[in-house]
């Protein structure tokens, strides 16, 4: 397929662009294989470069010979293009529609993108599982390559961390007992007290109460002697019970006597997508009344989901930090709510995860390698009109939860809010390959590592990194316990109201904070320098008997 066939009208003059919070501009609109470009061709005038894959939906309206295109983007931005000529408008609309949902992954932009910056450190190689888990785990764990060919579990990476005492055969048996082969693996090792978080999918107990000795053996091997563990099931008890009929289920107490099961329901799939759609719609109506806004905000349930996830993560963190008990987290498939909980728990417990690199490593470990299906979940965003089955803002909810913790501990995170917004944007549409595909196996098949550039290569370049640093950061080695009271949870205005509210006053405040911090740092080093100089001079003067005691 050639892009040329899809682009019947590559260029239209006299197009007017309306963007939120920006003055309108008039110029020439160009459609390329991957971008929608509008340029006024004037010096210093801002241009529009919109990635086709960033378009969520498109609406056409015609008045006379004028066509009006409303382009709704995955980052919730809505722009309008006034295009002279009905045919041109129709052509452009259909081009965008097709090009924004290309089925062939190798035709997408990341496979064409060449970085305009020097790649100092290749992001694809930044977080190899060996060193990452080496950093995390204690002596009782090992890296297993039982999934080298992605046969034992298609959605797991080739390298997983498991108890040292368990051999690969046992792992394979356990995998057969878990949905999608997702047997329990190490997610986080809490060095402070030797406890750990494991994750898996649901056990295939089924209606007949199957059991799997290997699975039990595997789980028990993670417990410290004489200690009990907790299984946090992210489904409501009745949902978990119903799953039995379809072959799934829960770990029955008789077979897992050392484990206590707790159900902490977190919403999933359609309900989340629906929640996002409602929330974004409510946020984009600046003329609504206060009553209407509050009731829509409530009806969206978004903050309820945030609270549920945070609460569950706090529970897991409590088990680890307060009770000294290991935790297994799973829902049904173990690729959505499970990952929200395990990754957020690490944000709470592990100071490393609150640094830029640590957070990148966390996303890499707990989301990308752990097989969260980004391609399915983030194919469409809040404005999508097409009925799709797999979309859900699972990762976005995780980012929102992180933001909530960040807002309560504004000095404990090395990165700032912009960093989280960036990750949201790139998870939905990107020039980088990082968030493409559903799991490591798929990524290998299309050779992402060699054919595309990693987002981390870009973010970790010194000049970019600087813009994502929090000027208030002071490393905090403690556990950060967030409040989950509704009064403490706030709408993420930096994301959801990003195109509705002018943030220049807020940005200015951050600039001021950066300035104050910078000034303070400079003074400290200046004082140190001057003191040293004075001490040297003093010594000199004393030796020359010019200064008295």
């Amino acid at each position: 397929m050639e892009f040329v066939e899809l682009i019947k009208t590559p260029k239209v003059d006299g197009v007017v662009l309306h963007r939120p919070l920006c003055p309108r501009i008039e110029g020439t609109l160009c459609v390329t294989g991957h971008h929608l470009i509008l340029s006024s061709r004037q010096k210093n005038a801002e241009e529009l470069w919109l990635l086709h894959s960033g378009v969520d939906s498109i609406e056409k309206k015609f008045v006379g010979s004028m066509g009006y295109l409303t382009v709704k983007c995955k980052d919730f931005r809505i722009i309008r293009l006034d295009i002279p000529g009905m045919e041109e408008c129709l052509n452009i609309a259909s081009s965008i529609e097709v090009l924004s949902s290309l089925d062939t992954i190798t035709l997408t932009y990341p496979f064409f993108f060449r970085p305009m910056f020097d790649v100092i450190e290749d992001g694809w190689q930044a977080f190899p599982p060996e060193t990452e888990f080496g950093r995390l785990s204690g002596e009782d764990w090992r890296i297993s390559y039982v999934n080298k060919e992605y046969k034992v579990c298609p959605s797991y990476p080739s390298a997983v961390v498991v108890p040292k005492s368990i051999d690969d055969t046992t792992l394979a048996k356990s995998a057969a007992f878990r949905q999608g082969g997702r047997f329990p693996v190490l997610s986080y090792f809490h060095a402070a007290n030797g406890t750990s978080i494991l994750r898996s999918s649901q056990p295939l107990t089924g209606p007949n109460g199957r059991r799997c000795k290997s699975d039990e053996q595997l789980l028990n091997a993670t417990l410290r002697p004489g200690k009990r563990g907790y299984i946090i099931d992210t489904r409501a008890p009745n949902v978990a019970a119903n799953a039995k009929a379809r072959g799934g289920g829960v770990e029955p107490e008789v077979h897992y006597p050392q484990w206590r099961r707790i159900h902490k329901p977190i919403e999933r799939w359609n309900a989340l997508q629906d929640s996002l759609v409602r929330l974004v719609e409510a946020c984009q109506d600046p003329n609504s009344s206060m009553d209407k806004w509050l009731s829509k905000l409530e009806a969206s349930n978004w903050l309820t989901h945030v609270k549920d996830i945070l609460t569950t993560a706090c529970l897991a963190a409590q088990c680890i930090d307060r009770e000294g008990a290991s935790v297994l987290v799973h829902g049904s498939e173990g690729i959505d709510t499970t990952l929200q909980v395990t990754s957020l728990t690490q944000i709470i417990l592990n100071p490393d995860c609150r640094t830029v690199r640590g957070f990148e490593a966390l996303v890499e470990r707990e989301w990308l390698q752990a097989g969260h299906p980004f391609a399915d979940r983030c194919a469409k965003s809040a404005h999508s009109t097409s009925k799709q089955k797999f979309e859900a803002p699972v990762f976005l909810l995780f980012l929102d939860c992180v933001l909530q913790v960040y807002q309560q501990f504004p000095c404990s995170f090395e990165f700032n809010e912009q960093f989280l917004v960036l990750l949201f944007e790139h998870s939905y549409a990107s020039q980088f390959g990082t968030f493409l595909c559903n799991n490591e196996s798929d990524r290998k098949k299309v050779k992402l590592q060699t054919k595309t550039v990693s987002l981390w290569s870009y973010v970790n370049s010194p000049e970019m990194l600087r813009t994502y640093l929090n000027p208030l950061y002071e490393p905090n080695n403690g556990v950060v316990w967030p409040s989950v009271a509704p009064q403490s949870l706030q709408l993420w205005s930096g994301l959801f109201l990003r195109w509705e509210t002018n943030k220049s006053a807020e940005d200015a405040a951050w600039q001021e904070v950066i300035h104050i911090r910078h000034h303070n740092k400079e003074l400290k080093s200046k004082v140190t320098k001057l003191r040293r100089q004075l001490e040297e001079l003093q010594r000199e003067a004393r030796d020359a008997n010019l200064l008295e005691e």
């Binding site: 806004w293 403490s488 006053a505």
Partner: protein
């Protein structure tokens, strides 16, 4: 009891000295009382409850935690049904603190209940706390704060009088309106008969008078009460009055009349012989209803809001639907929208606006003061905000005694009108973090003290009442008190010259931009607040930088000195030269008290520039006092007053910039050389002493759970750094201020008690 403080440290900081209780009153002490916590029900604190003449104090000996309730803050006391452990007493405060004490003996509970009922609602105004409050003379002087503001000076700052707006003596002795101030500014074209006639046609004589004059385009905001128009009455003088207001503005051939009430309310008033201006009678007016509800609706709304805040473990849904049902934010938005309408009319349409509601002292006060805040950056400073409140609220007769329910008034008169205003300002600070010189603590302190009756400032319903009560001689002023603690109230991000916020502020009033103010309504739920405070962290950083800058100046001086001894080239610029080199005369003037202003080294030029322009910012604000030709005569007459204002401006600025103590200037003047840098005795001991006396690192606030005195430091306690050792202390342990050897300026700075002893010892040894 001397060191006992309330949470937030604000209420009785000045009241650390116990008051002599009135003769009839015997302090009561009850042991074995439980303090119930809404969130931590498992382990209630057990301790002793003290009932003093002014406070109810609970002390938990285990955690050393103290809970203070000022009697004046008590909104309601309720005896709950008896439980197995005793009788619970539920106390709700006007500051949104709710406490439940469980008292073992029913009898004792009842006694306390009776006492609190009596103590929290005095029958007459002269029984209020302010008339007994008597702080140590060193803490606060009787006269402090009463003379910071005068309406003449404020209008003079706005550029008045001029040929359009003049001062009218018509209400000099409260003849025509007893709830207005003595000083009124009216259009030059309004004759005495017009004023008198208009006054008679307005509810309670509150005729249209000037509230704010926008110098740039001559548009004004005027305020009044509703006309006594009934269904058809008209008044020629009132119509002429409006014409005069309109004509005083050369840039617009119409004016707005904003009735802040919902139309239906105004219609109802017609039946009572009141109502609104008919466009048939008043020519060239654009009439607008803007729909802010009345005081009764607001009172009910707040009650509902409090219910929401009191919910035990609410779900997000419960909370949001409760918030919606309370309509509180809807009302806040209505007030903001109305104020924005007024400000936009002035700025965008160059139109004058006349604002009224019913009596013109509630909604009118809210909207006029907010519109002023949008339009004039001066009102966003600490000094200007006081002026705004003095002008729109105190002078123009907002009925504080009644609305705050200070005495045993009718419940129907009580309404959170002022609370709403304070919240609107807070909402603004959320949207414009660099635009306000004051911080959230300032707003909360102001709100607390409006209710505390510790100071006379907010007593009385109008100026006339305040004069009759001789408040300025019998009570202390809140403004004086606040000035002593100014450093607690400064917003570290404020920049006078900031391009984004130096001019007009137009907030975004889409409903999504309003937040629930947990810092106010859930202030005492320690669990719901951010665990790390951006404001505190940044403030500490700024203070620390100030200390280091001062230290750098001394180090440079010393290096130059030692080099000279060694016969080397003194390449380091001496601080004196620097000071002369990069600062304007004003900066030199204030250099003793504000070393941060001029002690700039070459590597932070940007900063120096910004500060230089901030100086000029002050100039801008003051220039009308000096420059306006139309008002020279007036100016000459007021020379003395002006002097005062200028001085107080300066003091305020200084105190706002650095941590101030009253004796700053005195000390500096007394010290022989004006700075340690000039001291000639350089010895090794002296030098090491100097270096040791300035902390290079300040401890982070994080993980500090208690002060060295074992007082728990939680979200409620403001934490302070000792400038010498850099450790963190509670306010009681950092009550000393003294100069430290490592600072060039030798201005007093906060130090902990240990360091204070050290410094005293060192100076006595040398």
């Amino acid at each position: 009891m001397e060191h006992i403080r309330t949470p937030k440290g604000s209420i009785n900081k000045g009241a650390q000295k116990p008051h002599a209780p009135p003769d009839f009153f015997m302090p009561v002490q009850v042991e074995n009382v439980r303090l119930q916590d809404r969130f931590n029900t498992r382990k209630p604190a057990v301790g002793t409850l003290y009932l003093t003449a002014t406070h109810l104090i609970f002390v938990d000996p285990n955690s050393k935690r103290e809970t203070w309730v000022l009697h004046m803050h008590i909104d309601s006391v309720e005896k709950l049904p008896l439980t197995t452990v005793g009788s619970p007493l539920l106390i709700r405060c006007k500051t949104f603190q709710t406490v439940t004490f469980v008292i073992a003996k029913e009898r004792e509970c009842h006694d306390i209940f009776e006492s609190l009922i009596m103590l929290s609602k005095p029958a007459t105004i002269t029984e209020l706390y302010a008339f007994q409050y008597n702080p140590q003379a060193t803490l606060l002087d009787h006269g402090d704060g009463w003379s910071y503001f005068s309406l003449e000076n404020e209008f003079s700052r706005q550029g008045l009088p001029n040929n359009r707006w003049v001062h009218s003596p018509i209400n000099k002795d409260y003849q025509i309106c007893d709830t207005y101030p003595r000083t009124l500014f009216v259009p030059a074209g309004a004759t005495t008969p017009i004023l008198l006639g208009s006054s008679k046609f307005r509810s309670r004589g509150r005729l249209p008078v000037l509230s704010y004059y926008h110098k740039d385009n001559h548009a004004t905001i005027c305020r009044c009460s509703q006309p006594l128009s009934g269904f058809s009455a008209r008044c020629l003088e009132d119509e002429q009055m409006l014409q005069a207001i309109m004509r005083a503005n050369p840039n617009c051939n119409f004016m707005y009349v904003v009735d802040t009430r919902p139309k239906i309310n105004a219609m109802v008033n017609k039946a009572a012989g009141k109502g609104y201006e008919s466009t048939d009678f008043y020519s060239n007016i654009r009439f607008q209803f803007l729909g802010i509800e009345n005081i009764h609706v607001m009172r009910n709304s707040l009650d509902k809001l409090i219910e929401v805040c009191d919910l035990k473990n609410p779900s997000v849904g419960d909370f949001l639907s409760g918030l919606e049902n309370s309509s509180w934010l809807k009302h806040i938005k209505a007030i903001m929208d109305t104020s924005l309408f007024i400000a936009k009319a002035v700025l965008d349409e160059h139109a004058s606006v006349l604002v009224h509601c019913s009596d013109g002292w509630d909604r009118t006060a809210q909207t006029c003061s907010l519109a002023g805040l949008f339009l004039d950056p001066y009102f966003r400073t600490l000094q200007g905000f006081q002026a705004l409140i003095e002008k729109e609220w105190l002078d123009f007769g907002h009925k504080f005694t009644d609305r705050l329910g200070l005495t045993a008034v009718e419940e129907k008169e009580v309404s959170p009108v002022f609370t709403q205003f304070v919240e609107c300002v807070w909402q603004l600070t959320q949207q414009f973090p660099c635009a306000f010189q004051f911080n959230e603590t300032f707003l909360l302190t102001l709100h607390d003290h409006a209710y505390s009756c510790q100071f006379g400032t907010f007593l009385g319903n109008c100026q006339r009442e305040r004069e009759e009560l001789s408040l300025s001689t019998k009570t202390y002023s809140l403004w004086g008190y606040m000035r002593k603690n100014m450093s607690d109230y400064v917003n570290p991000l404020y920049r006078r010259d900031h391009p984004v916020t130096k001019g007009v502020l137009f907030p975004n009033t889409a409903p999504q931009n309003f937040k629930f103010w947990r810092g106010m309504y859930n202030r005492y739920e320690s669990g719901v607040h951010p665990r790390e405070s951006v404001t505190d962290t940044v403030s500490a950083m700024k203070d620390h930088s100030a200390s280091l800058e001062d230290h750098v100046r001394l180090l440079e001086k010393r290096i130059a000195g030692v080099k000279k001894l060694l016969g080397k080239d003194t390449t380091v610029l001496s601080p004196d030269q620097q000071a002369k080199g990069d600062s304007s005369p004003e900066a030199v003037d204030s250099s003793n008290a504000v070393p941060t202003e001029d002690g700039r080294s070459e590597d932070n030029v940007a900063n120096a520039v910004s500060d230089a322009s901030s100086e000029s910012g002050i100039e801008d604000v003051q220039s009308p006092l000096n420059g306006d030709s139309a008002s020279t005569e007036e100016n000459e007459e007021k020379q003395d007053d002006k002097e005062d204002t200028l001085n107080s401006t300066h003091d305020l600025e200084e105190e706002a910039e650095g941590r101030d103590v009253p004796e700053t200037n005195v000390k500096v003047e007394n010290s022989p050389s004006g700075g340690a840098g000039d001291a000639t005795d350089m010895s090794l001991n002296r030098l090491s002493l100097e270096m040791d006396s300035v902390a290079l690192e300040w401890k982070a606030f994080r993980n500090i759970r208690q002060c060295s005195c074992e007082t728990p430091l939680d979200a409620f306690n403001k934490k302070y750094h000792c400038w010498r050792c850099g450790d963190v202390f509670c306010t009681r342990c950092i009550d000393k201020q003294t100069a430290i050897p490592g600072h060039y300026s030798q201005r007093p700075v906060p130090v902990c008690r240990t360091c204070y002893k050290h410094l005293k010892l060192e100076s006595s040894l040398s």
